[in-house]
């Protein structure tokens, strides 16, 4: 097992071994989450900072919960309340925060690559990308994989079953950091990914993307899919520039009840949230047992605990989940 990376900026930092390790360690933390006192001392004395330049309730709370359950101290910076609003540069902000003695900076930023810059500037802190622009959101993809693996039976056998798994990612891939992380993560475990979207919502180029196909016909892709992962369509994308209207998008690419009926019974439906019922997913589909949307949220804490633990716990299980 190679050393766990110092920073997690993109899924490629992990490789298939790293992904497998996150999923295995997350199993232990899911178990911790079921205890009366869901807390372990693994990161006692460590401090992590969340630095969010974009509104996000679920991701920030998920990371902070994960850190607290590992007994780490958590500092929370929101762009609105910090000196960022006074014109301080990102670099100054990061250097100031690091000077407080931080072990990990968890950053969400509207600019693609901002965490990569932060990783260049820090001297010793780990940097975890909690979503940057349209680039990546690696822990979201990891929790998707965890959810799928759970549904496939869990354990190492679950990881093995990603091979040749038919994954269909539907929606605004072009502007989606989640999609970029998902494609890299599924492909790393051998799944076969098909992107489905109108051409205007696909990236300008898919050269080098580890996918098997691109399709503009959702209904053709549904019968063979093992996983259907939906992406949020931001309403401004459907205001005439990328697609004529949300209504027309839904007509072509929404997972309606009729389309959900074309799926195999065991097919999983995932959505990274926040989902827009009635646009990319019909309300009755979101509530089907096949839709693992709330499962994704609770797994998120365990997966982020695993990432923090592997990154900051120096790989020692003393004080970890088995202690």
């Amino acid at each position: 097992m190679s050393r766990f990376p110092h920073h997690l900026l993109a899924i490629d930092d992990l490789g298939s071994d790293g992904i497998g390790e996150v999923l295995r360690v997350a199993d232990s933390f899911v178990e911790v989450g079921h205890r009366a006192n869901p807390k372990v001392p693994a990161l006692r004395g460590r401090t992590v900072a969340t630095l969010f330049f974009e509104d996000s309730t679920r991701t920030r709370v998920s990371f902070e919960t994960a850190a607290k359950r590992l007994s780490a101290d958590v500092l929370s910076f929101a762009a609105g309340s910090s000196s960022v609003k006074k014109g301080e540069s990102l670099r100054d902000t990061v250097e100031t925060i690091e000077a407080m003695g931080i072990d990990a900076i968890i950053i969400r930023h509207p600019s693609s690559g901002a965490p990569v810059g932060v990783a260049r500037w820090v001297t010793s802190s780990s940097v975890i990308n909690a979503g940057d622009g349209w680039h990546e959101h690696p822990t979201q993809a990891l929790l998707d994989l965890y959810t799928v693996r759970q549904a496939l039976g869990g354990g190492d056998e679950g990881v093995h079953r990603f091979k040749s798994l038919q994954v269909v990612i539907v929606g605004d891939v072009r502007h989606s950091r989640v999609a970029r992380s998902q494609v890299a993560a599924y492909a790393a475990l051998g799944a076969e990914v098909t992107l489905v979207a109108p051409p205007t919502l696909l990236p300008p180029s898919i050269d080098g993307w580890p996918i098997v196909a691109v399709s503009h016909d959702l209904e053709k892709e549904l019968p063979d899919a093992d996983v259907v992962s939906l992406l949020r369509l931001q309403s401004e994308r459907g205001s005439g520039e990328f697609v004529p209207s949300l209504r027309e998008y839904t007509a072509g690419f929404g997972l309606t009840g009729r389309r959900a009926a074309m799926l195999k019974p065991e097919t999983l439906i995932l959505h990274p949230g926040p989902m827009v019922r009635g646009v990319e997913i019909a309300s009755e589909v979101a509530d089907l047992p096949a839709a693992h949307i709330t499962g994704q949220v609770s797994n998120g804490v365990a997966v982020r605990m695993a990432v923090l633990f592997l990154m900051l716990g120096q790989g020692q299980l003393d004080g970890g989940p088995d202690a």
Binding site: S89, L90, S112, A114, G117, R180, P203, P204, I206
Partner: protein, 442 residues
């Protein structure tokens, strides 16, 4: 051949460039060059050293007409923390340039007689000639024509809204018609705003992977095609700034074949770097037009070799460090270029030295109207009586670029650590050695 005194023109030579090989538009020859009172007084082999003369050793070096940059952002007035006319022309001199064309996107922009006079005044003690490119439209906003005749009367021969293209075809047509009457040339930054949107890099495989908004090659090509049509319709000359894509260059090639009055330049970064440089999100690699894929880099090289592109122009664009510490999409575009252009041309291009010098000296001098044919003193030829604007460089010397050691006030060179072949040894501006042995004298 014995030593002989140079032809006398009333005063003793003050500078003697000895032992070099002269290359100008007339060819190549082994001669010394004597200079006095700002002019060349002797061009002969084996000139004697008069008492008191400064001798610039040029053994193993090329002595060429000073380089002329068609595209320099000097940032003064308005962004003096990034560059001043003093620091920018010092960088120019160190890069072998004796003339630069200052772009009008200053604050205030160079769209009025007062603004242009101010730059000329600030440049009166500069170490290179500073020509001005005036704005085509007031405030470079693309709405109303700037007072082009008033600016032309001050000596402005090039007009551009560089930093932005003139978006309205109708307004560009009027500007070309009006400018034709003044005998000036309009230069276009080809970028259709509706296609470029807020692209941060070339739209393609890398932008898609990195999740950065892309600026398609089309944004440039559409405006090149449009302006070629306008040049044909108006008969007015159009100069295309910093061409960066294969199809753009092909359009200019066809326009030239049709005999249209078009010229074009390319920047060193467009023949030496690709869009893959953005992989680490370092804004030092952000520039506009953006770095393109290898096929476009190759097309730029072909265009430089076959004469489609007339000039290498630096698009020297200093930015203070705090701006290049922003995330990639928020950082301003632009890179330093004056001190690395000649080395990059020699290192990266498979062209003869006379061809490189044509692209960097006498051809841009003619486009800018700074050559003797337009009453100027730039671009050679190196002959008795000519203004002494000269660049002496060692075409085989290698050096490693250190952004911290450059003369610009800014540090945004993308070539840090890169080893280049070809180093400027001396630069003589209007008879004054402003660079001696690689060091600025003031």
């Amino acid at each position: 051949m014995g030593a002989r005194m140079p032809e006398r023109h009333g005063s003793e030579p003050q500078v003697l460039i000895r032992g070099g090989t002269v290359i100008d538009a007339g060819g190549e020859r082994r001669v010394d060059v004597a200079i006095a009172d700002g002019r060349i007084r002797g061009v002969e082999d084996g000139l004697a050293v008069p008492a008191g003369a400064t001798v610039l050793d040029a053994v193993g070096c090329i002595v060429a007409p000073g380089l002329v940059d068609l595209h320099t952002h000097l940032r003064e007035p308005g962004q003096e923390e990034a560059e001043t006319i003093e620091t920018g022309t010092r960088a120019a001199a160190l890069g072998g340039y004796t003339a630069v064309v200052a772009m009008p996107n200053t604050n205030p922009p160079l769209d009025s007689a007062d603004a242009v006079r101010n730059v000329f005044e600030l440049a009166s003690t500069a170490t290179a000639e500073v020509a001005v490119a005036g704005a085509i439209t007031v405030g470079r906003e693309g709405n109303h024509l700037a007072p082009m005749a008033e600016l032309a009367a001050l000596g402005v021969r090039l007009f551009t809204d560089d930093g932005a293209g003139v978006q309205s075809a109708g307004l560009m047509r009027r500007a070309l018609e009006y400018g034709r009457g003044l005998g000036v040339t309009l230069a276009q930054h080809c970028e259709d705003g509706s296609l470029a949107c807020d692209g941060a890099m070339h739209e393609g495989a890398w932008s898609s992977r990195l999740g950065l908004p892309g600026m398609p090659a089309l944004a440039e090509e559409v405006m090149v095609a449009r302006d070629i049509a306008l040049a044909r319709a108006t008969g007015a000359p159009v100069h295309f700034l910093h061409l960066s894509t294969g199809p753009s260059i092909e359009l200019v090639r066809q326009a030239k074949a049709m005999g249209l009055p078009v010229t074009a330049e390319a920047a060193p970064h467009h023949f030496s770097l690709t869009d893959a440089c953005a992989a680490g999100y370092d804004p030092v690699f952000k520039v506009n037009p953006p770095l393109r894929p290898q096929a476009d880099v190759d097309a730029v090289k072909v265009g430089l070799a076959d004469g489609t592109i007339d000039a290498i122009a630096t698009d020297h664009a200093p930015h203070a460090p705090e701006f290049k510490d922003l995330p990639f999409d928020l950082a301003p575009p632009g890179m330093l270029g004056l001190q690395t252009a000649l080395g990059l041309a020699i290192t990266e291009l498979d062209l003869s030295l006379p061809r490189i010098l044509a692209l960097m000296s006498w051809q841009p001098a003619a486009i800018a109207g700074l050559d003797p044919a337009h009453g100027g003193g730039q671009g050679g030829p190196i002959e008795v009586g000519a203004e002494a604007n000269l660049c002496v460089f060692d075409p085989t010397a290698t050096w490693t670029v250190d952004p911290m050691a450059l003369a610009s006030r800014s540090r945004n060179s993308p070539y840090g650590g890169r080893t280049l072949t070809g180093h400027v040894r001396h630069t003589v501006f209007r008879g004054e050695p402003v660079v001696v042995d690689g060091e600025a004298t003031r």
